[in-house]
């Protein structure tokens, strides 16, 4: 994945969720739903495919493991490299949004 490549929204939201601190799979799913205001509902298949890929790219790592009610709970954390990827993506989105807003306000000004 190129640093300049736009992150897909689920990947962006997973990294954003982990930017708040280490979380387990279910925690990431609920956090992503909260961040996106319920618009993005991650499912387990998508989540773990993304986590596995992000681990391979060294963007996320395992923070710790716990056994809760007899089930394994693995906590994931954002690595410094993942934070850099997220920061670049956020900056790009901010720049794009600023340009869009500026042009829209110009459009509105011209129409008035």
């Amino acid at each position: 994945m190129s640093k300049r490549q736009v992150l897909q929204e689920p990947t962006f939201l997973i990294l954003t969720a982990l930017a708040a601190g280490p979380q387990h799979g279910y925690g990431i799913m609920t956090d992503v739903a909260r961040i996106s205001d319920g618009r993005v509902k991650l499912r387990a298949g998508t989540l773990y495919t993304a986590l596995d890929r992000l681990s391979g790219e060294a963007s996320v790592g395992v923070d710790r493991e716990e056994i809760v009610d007899g089930r394994l709970r693995r906590y994931y954390k954002l690595t410094p490299s993942g934070a850099q990827v997220l920061a670049s993506a956020a900056e790009r989105m901010r720049a794009n949004a600023a340009i869009a807003s500026k042009r829209l306000s110009r459009l509105a000004g011209g129409a008035a």
């Binding site: 799913m29 495919t49 596995d52």
Partner: protein, 341 residues
């Protein structure tokens, strides 16, 4: 139907869907995935929803199609190949640089040879081609990197088919091939940078360069003024003896033994800087491209009548190939036995 049996039925069905994922992925993630799937299930739900089932199937297929999971290799192999995907090209680059410097040095003042600009350009081009793939991979341009990893392999397989078959370019071909395959089957150079310490890199390069000594010697001999002799191998021995001021009968052996000693020392260092399976496997991978030149040099040391080429390189290749397949097979069997117990 009780809640507990509903949950058990749902869990069984989710586990059945996880078969879409590769065994390695299931080994690492199955338990937590089942936990997450059950945690997000509705009360009394007995079957996975269609959306969840499709999502798991899609995820399984995507994971299987991803290069790092094609192999079914354990973390040891994945890490070994990740290191090889960056170490091998950079060792080749260093070797090219040494050969280039050597050639330039010996051609200076020789008007007949005249250090041609074309040769400089070709070597510089090769250097760039060798260094670019790991650099691109580190910058996360993975598709471009993959393409470029295979360019020298395809070029040597096609344009250099003659020298590859005769053994002259065999070492380089094997090194490029191992680099490309290592990149496809591993997380790549970024993972290597993450797991390797500065000390481990120094040791890896020491091994790579010491294993390149026979290749450098062979190239060096090709450019040296040679006393005339009955055949090429006796010429090689004579030239080497002349330059090293040694008994002609022993000179090539001295190079081979020195290489073996330096490599053994470096291997000892590797075993102390990298965990055992990764260190050992990396040593084998680095030794593979060195061996055609070691065999050629050893054969030339064996005396006149030996030729530098396919006939001395390929019989041991078949033997070593069989040995390698046997070792991999044995290691896989042991792995399966460990997992089953």
């Amino acid at each position: 139907m009780s809640g507990v049996s509903d949950m058990a039925a749902l869990e069984r069905r989710y586990r059945r869907l996880l078969v879409w994922y590769p065994a390695e992925h299931r080994r690492v993630h199955a338990e937590e995935m089942v936990g997450v799937l059950l945690a997000s299930a509705r009360n009394g739900q007995r079957r996975p929803s269609l959306a969840d089932a499709l999502d798991l199937i899609k995820g399984g297929i995507q994971t299987r199609l991803r290069p790092a999971h094609h192999d079914g290799l354990d973390d040891g192999w994945r890490d070994t190949l990740a290191i090889a995907s960056i170490a091998m090209p950079t060792i080749i680059a260093l070797l090219y640089a040494v050969i280039f410097a050597w050639t330039a040095y010996h051609r200076v003042g020789d008007p007949a040879a005249g250090m041609p600009v074309a040769m400089t350009a070709v070597l510089a081009g090769w250097l760039l081609l060798v260094v670019l793939p790991p650099v691109l991979a580190l910058r996360r341009f993975l598709r471009a990197a993959m393409l470029l990893y295979f360019v020298p392999v395809l070029f040597l397989a096609y344009a250099g088919a003659g020298p590859v078959v005769s053994g002259e370019q065999g070492g380089f071909f094997l090194a490029f091939l191992i680099s490309a395959v290592a990149f496809v089957l591993s997380p790549g150079p970024r993972r290597a940078v993450q797991i390797m310490s500065a000390k481990a890199w120094v040791v890896v390069y020491a091994i790579g360069l010491s294993l390149s000594i026979p290749e450098i010697m062979l190239r060096w001999l090709a450019y040296m003024p040679a006393p005339t002799g009955p055949d090429r191998s006796s010429q090689l021995v004579a030239v080497l003896a002349w330059h090293l001021r040694l008994d002609p009968q022993h000179s090539a052996w001295v190079v081979v033994l020195t290489t073996a000693l330096v490599a053994a020392g470096a291997a000892l260092g590797l075993s102390r800087t990298l965990p055992s399976p990764v260190g050992k496997r990396l040593l084998v991978l680095l030794a593979v491209p060195a061996y055609p030149s070691v065999v050629s040099l050893t054969a030339s040391a064996a005396g006149p009548g030996w030729l530098l080429g396919a006939e001395v390189v390929y019989p041991p290749t078949v033997l070593l190939g069989c040995l390698a397949v046997g070792l991999v097979w044995q290691s896989r069997r042991r792995e399966h036995a460990d997992r089953a117990s």
